[in-house]
Subunit: 318 residues, 2 copies
Amino acid sequence: MTTIYDLAKKTGISKSTISRVVSGNGYVSETKRKIILDAMHEMNYIPNQVAKNLRKKRTNTIGFLTKEYFPLVGEFLNSFTKIAAKHGYSVNVYFTQTADKELKTLRLLTTHALDAVFILTRINSWDTISSYAKFGPISTWHRVNRPNIYSNFIDHYPIYYHVIDHLYKNGHKNIGHVLSSLRNANTRARIRAIDDFNTSHPDSNQDFRLFYHTQTGTGEDAAKKWLATKNRPSSVMFYADFVAAEFISTLRKNGKKVPDDCLVVGSDNSEIAHMMNMPTIDLCFRNQAHNAFIYLYNELNPDRLPYENQNPHWVDAY
Amino acid sequence: MTTIYDLAKKTGISKSTISRVVSGNGYVSETKRKIILDAMHEMNYIPNQVAKNLRKKRTNTIGFLTKEYFPLVGEFLNSFTKIAAKHGYSVNVYFTQTADKELKTLRLLTTHALDAVFILTRINSWDTISSYAKFGPISTWHRVNRPNIYSNFIDHYPIYYHVIDHLYKNGHKNIGHVLSSLRNANTRARIRAIDDFNTSHPDSNQDFRLFYHTQTGTGEDAAKKWLATKNRPSSVMFYADFVAAEFISTLRKNGKKVPDDCLVVGSDNSEIAHMMNMPTIDLCFRNQAHNAFIYLYNELNPDRLPYENQNPHWVDAY
DNA sequence: TTGAAAGCGCTAACAC
DNA sequence: GTGTTAGCGCTTTCAA
């Protein structure tokens, strides 16, 4: 492996000058630059990233943390990684699984193994997590209110209210809700929307409410609960497309027709929503991925990259 | 940030001895070990991974390369990352997109930024790719026959033949095939299976054959071709669940009934197959992920981890 | 069983 | 413009 030292020996030019042309910082005369460039090609020189990292205390690597895998992880990661790569960052994926392993991953910030961290799904409390922000910027798509964690969140209240209203006007008086965990601020926002709507529309029924901490097996469980319900909602709204999809698939296995027997509404506007022909709510996760990276980049670098606008909206089945 | 040097200064013990207890190599007296351990806790010492990497010329990081995103990427990555994490490796994901960027990623092997590489979807020729194997082990799930690339491939011939036969016996005389690129050895194996079956069953019709290089928009395109066909196959087999799912979804949008109008068979046994209630072929991608990692690990380390057995099989819709 | 010393390959003051 | 020098934090001979 050719090093900068080999290049110096070969050309008779000092390491520092060579470093200058490789990294593009500082002045180097055209004649020397040419000699060095030629030698680089001839000797097939590739700078050692690890040595550079040690010296600069930077790895240009961002950690992407998720507790577990669910289909949206892949789509989100795809968006995040692409924007990161575009700006010279690579992405390390961690399926944290346990609180302990999540902490261990966060600690990589302290050793400069990771420059920054994005959190898709967390395990530890935001207080614990935010205590690592002094070692490197942290961002998430969750709705969290901490001074040192960037949250590119979407307020679910208005769009959720809007969708309930839309369903109501289309004749759905009994609407079910499959929601995420209550520790999630946007779950609480959704509940406020439900309650507020109910108050102004007393003839509507929004009693069917389920809460889940995870996405695995959830749609199936919700479907069983729906099937076991006497006064079944004619429409059910979900906190994730994937869960909604599993719900639909379970209903169909049980001889029900979707959307005739039950109109299912997802959230995310992911691939799977189109696949299942269900209406969904676009909550702009692609922009969120983008903006979450932009924040980290802007914290890490002197220049400023612009944020993208976000516009949550209803997406018809098509 | 506490360094090994700070520890040395504080305890009055040399850096080398401290290094020995941190890394667990070499003899250290119990008394000194205790002093060091205590100091480590007290000062909250976390070894700097980057410095270690530079010194050892190892990063314990494996590159996961895929040309583009499609749903199976996520599921595969999930399996791969988990087994890797279990053995102390983290995984860097690269969506390579272009031949040039793929090469650039491969070059990370030469600088010791990546210890090894797994290739899910490639762009450059295997000859080009394999020339990097001297810098670090490379594995893939593709069927490739190069001495220095580990291929944990499944021969699609027997299972594919078996499934055609199964469909035929269930009354499907006209079977369509949506296949991957012909440069793919297993695509050719599938074609051999089709042709061999046809030779021994002249009354069967297997003329509907489509070939694709990518997974995006493919299912929709195939569906349109199916709809435009006069003598439509009563069953279509696919090279990927995701493509099959898009096919189903497009047929349904066009008023067709699945499986009544067309029995769709996927390949992969991924989440989406269950979601769409379609039969599929389990080609053991989870084991392939496992074994692909095992190979890299075994090349990189003195100890030997065992491989998992693979048993491709038909999976009913359920 | 321990410590001194020599780097891994690169960057960045600083001096000239 | 360019070279000298001093590290980044760690591991690993080698000698004691």
